[in-house]
């Protein structure tokens, strides 16, 4: 017989109280492990989804703005490009060191041209890349699938009074209107969107590219590294990360993490309070027993030790059970949180078990102090 065994025997005797004490820890740790495991997997999933949703790097020709004037008279200004971009540059972008992090490189060309008597801006991009470059576009009709087809922005369609199935002319050529964009609030609303080859022909500039949009997968690498590598591959180009996109992705993931941490903390706190209340109740119930132990020579440290072992056993078992339940729950519900390949995260389980043990022991401190301070005469008075 030692204190550890004495504690274990007492737990077995008061099974329902032990279960109730452990319930708080169990629920707290199960929630903590499940939420931590899910949020940790969701961080990756959300980042992946965000990375798929549009570009985060723009590559354009390096240019300088020149102000024109005559004496005190300002005549406006113009941008003078140091170099031009071409379709062939796509290969150079796609061959950087972090090429496995590049999901797509889409070339764009912008050109102004007359369309059925109206002067509008044309946006050209490979028709096959339309769904990758602008996945959020909603179209009445169908997207551009081949050369000879155009997509009209909402304002451009209204201006030309054209809809899906209609035709427009530009550069002595007839184009079929495949579809009309729903209003986006962006410049595309006033544009005509076509295959890049058609717009290059209209601009009489085959192979020319105005800018590239690059979608980089930046979950584990800083976007700055990719920007620098593209800059090295294209020395005459200006490469810039769309900071807002990058920051908003980080913010979304951080919010998710904070939410998980907040919920877990609250549940763990409740678990700790449950331990405190039930162990305190147990001490109250066992006043006489503790008094007898004091009477037969138990020091305050031994009483402390007894209560810590009791709470330790309960906390350890309920934490282990809670961690296992949390892992199982996270695994089962992961698909409904958009996690395509759920995995088992051991770190939250280990942290959860340790946290449950510590929390249980902390919750036992006030009752243990109270028990150790009990006068042995409390027992004698019941004689």
């Amino acid at each position: 017989m030692n204190i550890r065994k004495l504690a274990w025997k007492n737990l077995l005797r008061r099974k329902s109280r032990a279960v109730f004490t452990g319930l708080g820890i169990f629920l707290g740790i199960a929630t903590f492990v499940a939420i931590s495991s899910i949020t940790s997997q969701m961080e990756g999933a959300v980042q992946d989804q965000l990375d798929r949703f549009g570009a985060n790097i723009v590559v354009s020709p390096r240019a300088e703005r020149l102000s024109l004037g005559f004496g005190d008279i300002a005549l406006g200004g113009t941008e003078v490009a140091h170099s031009r971009l071409a379709i062939a540059d796509k290969e150079r972008i796609a061959s950087i060191h972090h090429k496995d992090r590049i999901r797509s490189v889409v070339p764009f060309i912008l050109a102004a041209s007359d369309v059925s008597g109206k002067n509008l801006v044309w946006m050209g991009l490979p028709s096959t890349d339309l769904a990758i470059a602008r996945p959020w576009w909603k179209i009445t009709g169908s997207p551009v699938r081949e050369r000879g087809e155009v997509l009209l922005g909402a304002e451009a369609a209204a201006m030309l009074d054209k809809g899906p199935g209609g035709t427009v002319t530009a550069g002595n050529r007839l184009y079929r209107v495949a579809g009309v964009l729903h209003p986006t609030g962006e410049k595309e609303d006033g544009m005509v969107i076509a295959d890049i080859g058609d717009v290059q022909s209209l601009a009489k500039n085959p192979g020319a590219v105005t800018y590239f949009e690059v979608a980089a997968l930046c979950k584990d690498c800083p976007v700055e590294d990719i920007v620098a590598q593209i800059g090295q591959a294209l020395p005459g180009a200006r490469v810039s990360a769309i900071r807002q996109v990058v920051e908003s992705r980080k913010a979304a993931v951080d919010q998710l993490r904070r939410l998980g941490f907040g919920v877990s903390s609250i549940v763990l706190l409740i678990g700790g309070l449950m331990v405190l209340v039930t162990v305190m109740g147990g001490v109250q119930e066992r006043t006489r027993e503790i008094g007898v132990l004091r009477a037969v020579g138990f020091r305050t440290r031994s009483i402390f030790s007894l209560l810590f072992w009791e709470t330790g056993w309960v906390s350890l078992l309920s934490s282990l059970l809670g961690a296992a339940t949390g892992i199982a729950a996270a695994y089962l519900v992961a698909p409904s949180f958009g996690i395509e390949h759920p995995g088992i995260r051991m770190l939250p389980a280990l942290l959860g078990t340790a946290a449950g043990l510590v929390l249980g022991l902390l919750g036992a401190v006030p009752p243990a102090r109270r028990a150790a301070a009990l006068s042995p005469t409390e027992a004698i008075r019941t004689l």
Partner: protein, 232 residues
């Protein structure tokens, strides 16, 4: 012979202003080693308070208590616990066995905090249980023992550290007369082997085995009588 218990002017006052209750007032006496003293008195006379003070469970409001050469008022809480473990064996009226432990385990409880091998603990518990006549009942729970057997387990538990002083508070109070006699025989036997016994009781029949009688009334020693000469 040096007294093993020395009380001088011991008073115990409970409560504060307006609610003061005097449980003991100026109690003084000495007990020599090997004495079998019976403390009697009406309810509220201060018997249990006196026993609590003698056992180091309570510190008196006034006066000095020296037991086995130790001044109890000078000991801190853990020092008193050590004193109780090494010097005093308690036997309670209601036995106060832990109901979830077997007879053997109950006897081993005072040894729980000690770094003694499990085998040695079991051996000591079993030999004590045999000494109080419970050979073969080591694995029974208190609920499977009679009142007399439970009290024997409690006596074995009190003896586990071989204390020189045994304090008993109405040890036969919950037992029928025949079983009570057997328990008193046990105490007599222990006293015969050199243990100093102080027993609180209401029952005048217990006086027959004692060497001394101390009667309390309203917290004071009303009578202190030698009943039999102390064997030297």
């Amino acid at each position: 012979m040096e007294p093993i218990i020395h009380l001088n002017g011991v008073s115990m006052i409970y409560g504060g202003n307006g609610t003061r209750a005097t449980a003991l007032s100026g109690v003084s006496f000495d007990v020599r080693p090997g004495e079998y003293a019976v403390i009697t008195g009406e309810s509220g006379a201060g018997k249990s308070t006196l026993l609590a003070i003698l056992g180091g469970l309570q510190i008196p409001s006034e006066g000095t208590v020296r037991i086995h050469g130790v001044d109890l008022s000078a000991l801190p809480s853990d020092g008193l616990a050590d004193f109780r473990r090494e010097t005093i064996g308690f036997v309670f009226q209601a036995y106060h066995l832990l109901p979830y432990l077997t007879a053997r385990e109950n006897v081993m409880v005072p040894m729980s905090p000690e770094r003694v091998s499990p085998g040695e603990k079991v051996e000591r518990a079993d030999s004590l249980l045999a000494a109080v006549g419970l050979d073969g009942k080591e694995d029974r729970l208190p609920s499977q023992l009679s009142g007399g057997e439970s009290q024997r387990v409690a006596i074995a538990r009190a003896l586990v550290h071989d204390p020189p002083v045994l304090l008993a508070d109405e040890p036969t109070g919950n037992l029928d007369s025949a079983t009570g006699e057997q328990i008193l025989d046990l105490f007599s036997g222990l006293n015969g082997r050199g243990k100093t016994v102080l027993m609180v009781t209401h029952n005048p029949a217990n006086l027959a085995r004692a060497t001394r009688s101390i009667r309390l009334r309203d917290g004071r020693v009303e009578e202190d009588r030698i009943l039999a000469p102390l064997a030297v």
